[in-house]
Amino acid sequence: MMELIGIPPQALFGQLLLGLINGAFYALLSLGLAVIFGMLGVINFAHGALYMLGAFVAWLLFQELGVGYWPALILAPLVVAAFGVVLERTMLSRIAKMDPLYGLLLTFGIALVVEGLFRHLYGVSGQPYPVPDALQGGTNLGFMYLPTYRAWVVVASLAVCLGTWYAIERTKLGSYLRAATEKPQLVQAFGVNVPLLVTGTYAAAVALAGFAGVLAAPMYQVNPLMGSNLIIVVFAVVVIGGMGSILGAVITGFGLGLVEGLTKVFYPEAANIVIFVIMAIVLLVKPAGLFGRTT
């Protein structure tokens, strides 16, 4: 068996794949956070809870109604989006003109309430969710074994990230969104219903979190705390990438997932903190983040 720098390729590629998968979740979640921050000026602490909500909705659809993975992949994000509409209209819109700290505290509170509710109802032990039939099994690539579901997660996340990027950077609706991120009052004075655009943006961004939750369900157990474990790392990813950039969030998400995977291979002790070390360095060297605009 060939070895790379003393590391068996199975282990190296296995960790790279794991890194890519973590990166897929970082990308989907930090993308939504970046969009929400741009449009609402809110650091959406509830993002992890909404990711968890997506996974739970998929699990409940399956348990209670026998609705399978593929419909859940659409339905669960829609449910999360609807919840997002309610959150934005009843709470976030009221603090729109206040200090960003209020948004952080409010969404932190929402996260605690949502997670507390699911803990109360379902406990902290995870609920298993089956891998859909079409994505069972895997392929031996020679240098590594590739489980089909994991490959699907990476591909689906990449596709959704690129689709979101395209929608924001290349469509008419996206130009409203970018413009309203810069000068919301002027965009509204041109005749665009900006409050509606803000609600829609929040709903779409949290739907991405819900989608990530459904992707995660068959791989990890569905657990009320799955979001809060992830969201701290995702915040670090957003800080590293810079709040302002869509493509930056995606690239940073996947990139840091890979870095984490490589660290597991070469220096496993540091794997859990490598992202935070990078964050500290980036904050020192380029406080606006790698892709952030300093204005």
Binding site: A179, Q185, L186, V187, A189, G191, N193
Partner: protein
């Protein structure tokens, strides 16, 4: 009593308009009218409330009182997007070009609010430079080009009342002349224009009438053909 003719011809009517930024009371009862097809200026020293008056018309102040009617529709209390849809195009004093949009995207951004706007080709005909630079980032344009873009993008929308806030500020004389030509062409096409202008010489070559503002109020109105006669008074108002 205004007669029937003036009633139908008045497009914009501002009555006893008060405007506030937070607690500070900036407009103290502004009154003026603009008839359909007219070019009218708001002039006055720095800080008298010209920009605030335009922002009030667009519904962008924290708080306002009084009455603003456009073609019979009361604007006070409407949201800015509803106000725009009455048929008003706004060119803000900072030009409002979006950095994250290309020139073309900036141009296409304002939604069509009424029928009868210029086509994109007609707009590019008026501003050939914008067509050449349509793929550039909006804020990479020169100051004059940004000003043209700011005007160009509201011509597509079908808005027939244009609010222009100091379109010549900080621009070279050649560019000022070009913008003057554009405004004359727009007047000929039937647009109604409310123009805030510090460059009085420029304003006198385009406008039908001038409203003079002082301390958040309109204090005088001078028809353009009375300018020479009123030159002394005007110099006192403007402090020149």
């Amino acid at each position: 009593m205004p007669d029937a003719a003036t009633l139908t011809r008045t497009l914009l009517s501002v009555r006893d308009l008060h405007g506030f930024y937070g607690e500070s009371h900036v407009l103290h009862g502004v009154n003026f009218q603009v008839a359909e097809g007219e070019v009218v200026t708001l002039i006055g020293r720095n800080g008298v409330g010209k920009t605030t008056t335009l922002r009030a018309i667009m519904g962008l102040l924290d708080r306002q009182q009084g009455s603003i009617q456009v073609a019979g529709t009361e604007l006070v209390g409407l949201r800015p997007d509803k106000i725009a849809r009455v048929g008003i195009g706004y060119v803000p004093d900072d030009r409002g070009i979006f950095a994250s949009l290309s020139v073309e995207e900036n141009l296409m951004l304002p939604p069509v609010v009424k029928q009868g706007g210029l086509t994109v080709e007609e707009v590019y005909g008026l501003f050939p430079r914008l067509k050449e630079r349509r793929k550039s980032q909006g804020t990479k344009l020169s100051g004059g080009e940004q000003q043209m873009l700011s005007i160009a993008r509201i011509l597509r929308t079908g808005a027939n009342l244009l609010l222009l806030d100091e379109p010549t500020e900080g621009l070279a004389p050649v560019i000022v002349q070009q913008i003057g030509d554009i405004i004359r062409q727009l007047k000929a096409k039937g647009f109604t224009i409310l123009l805030v202008e510090q460059n009085f010489h420029f304003a006198s070559t385009l406008a039908d009438r001038h409203y003079v503002m002082e301390d958040g109020k309109v204090v005088d109105m001078i028809p353009n053909d009375r300018l020479e006669a009123e030159a002394e008074k005007l110099a006192r108002y403007l402090g020149v």
